[in-house]
């Protein structure tokens, strides 16, 4: 799918969520779903498997979201994307939607990766520090990613601040080579 299509789907989902008055909730739930998708190869391959009927794949994702107590709006929006055969692009669509929602609030999105979830205090402090450093309001979105091993990394647009153990190990590997 091309970037224009991704943005188009993100805009559609964004408008529906806002019309339903559930933009923040939908945004949060979709972000969590994006995390789940990035960590589960099985779920990703199931949702993108064209040999499985679209209805079946929609049923699977709706069951998953119901288990996670997601709102019906979120469930319907995700089901719509999966039914359209664009499950593969769901993470990109969600990313675009999150950025669009943050821009709506005059904020930028800081994609933070950490091996463990951050508490509210840490999120607030990190958002504040990044906002001051970058000179613009930043919203922190945390991806729990065990592959970073430890520490956190933050990406705001093209700016990346990487303090993860994985990054240090990669640097060490390069220096050894």
């Amino acid at each position: 799918m091309q970037a224009e299509q991704v943005d188009g789907y993100a805009a559609a989902l964004f408008e529906v969520a806002r019309a339903e008055g559930a933009l923040e909730v939908v945004e949060e739930e979709l972000f969590k779903l994006s995390d789940v998708l990035s960590q589960s190869d099985e779920l990703r391959s199931t949702l993108t498997d064209n040999t499985i009927p679209a209805e079946k794949r929609q049923e699977i994702v709706q069951d998953l979201l119901a288990t996670g107590k997601a709102t019906p709006v979120t469930s319907n929006l995700v089901s719509f994307v999966v039914g359209s055969g664009h499950a593969r692009d769901l993470p990109a669509i969600i990313k675009s939607l999150v950025e669009r929602a943050a821009a709506e609030r005059q904020h930028s999105v800081a994609e933070v990766r950490s091996a463990v979830p951050l508490d509210e205090n840490q999120r607030t402090r990190l958002a504040s520090a990044l906002s001051k450093n970058l000179g613009k309001e930043v919203e922190v979105k945390v991806h729990v990613d065990p592959s970073v091993l430890g520490g956190i990394s933050a990406r705001v647009g093209d700016v990346v601040i990487d303090g993860t153990v994985r990054h240090r190990l990669d640097q060490l590997k390069e220096s050894i080579r």
Binding site: A129, L149, I176
Partner: protein, 186 residues
Amino acid sequence: MNALNAVLVFATAAPEGGEEATTNPILPAWNEVIWGAISFTVLFVLIAKFAFPAVKKGIDARADKIRSSLDEAERTRDEASTILDQYRRQLADAKNESARIIEEARQAADKLRQDLKSQAEAEVAEIKQRAQEDIAAQVERAMGDLRARVADMTIELTEKVVQRNLDRETNLALIERFIDEAESAA
């Protein structure tokens, strides 16, 4: 003519000498002498008039023929000499040409041999150079692979050690430190 006159003088002088002269058995009778002289003269005139020109003409014709033959022979000899000289020149030219061709062929063969030798030497040098480069590249690649493998193994081991020792508290401490550094940089 002088001899004839002498005979006539003798013949006419004889009767004046007496009876002894007429009995000379050697001398013919006067009438025989006269008729003989007349016959001789007539015959001489006839011969001079008719036979001599024909004989002379024949002799001249034969002389002309002989001269012509000699001229023809001379001309033929000159022609033969010219042709011989021409053949000799052609033969010399052919010898020179053949010598030149042989020399050119020899030079071409030398040049070809030299070229082939140079080419073979260049090819050998190139093959050797390429082989050395290949060997160096393979050694470098093997060393690179070895370094990469060592690095991967080192990182793999380090990662396992880190994972074993990186508990939740340590992780949170790392996060806190990151946030603290971000705040202090602000």
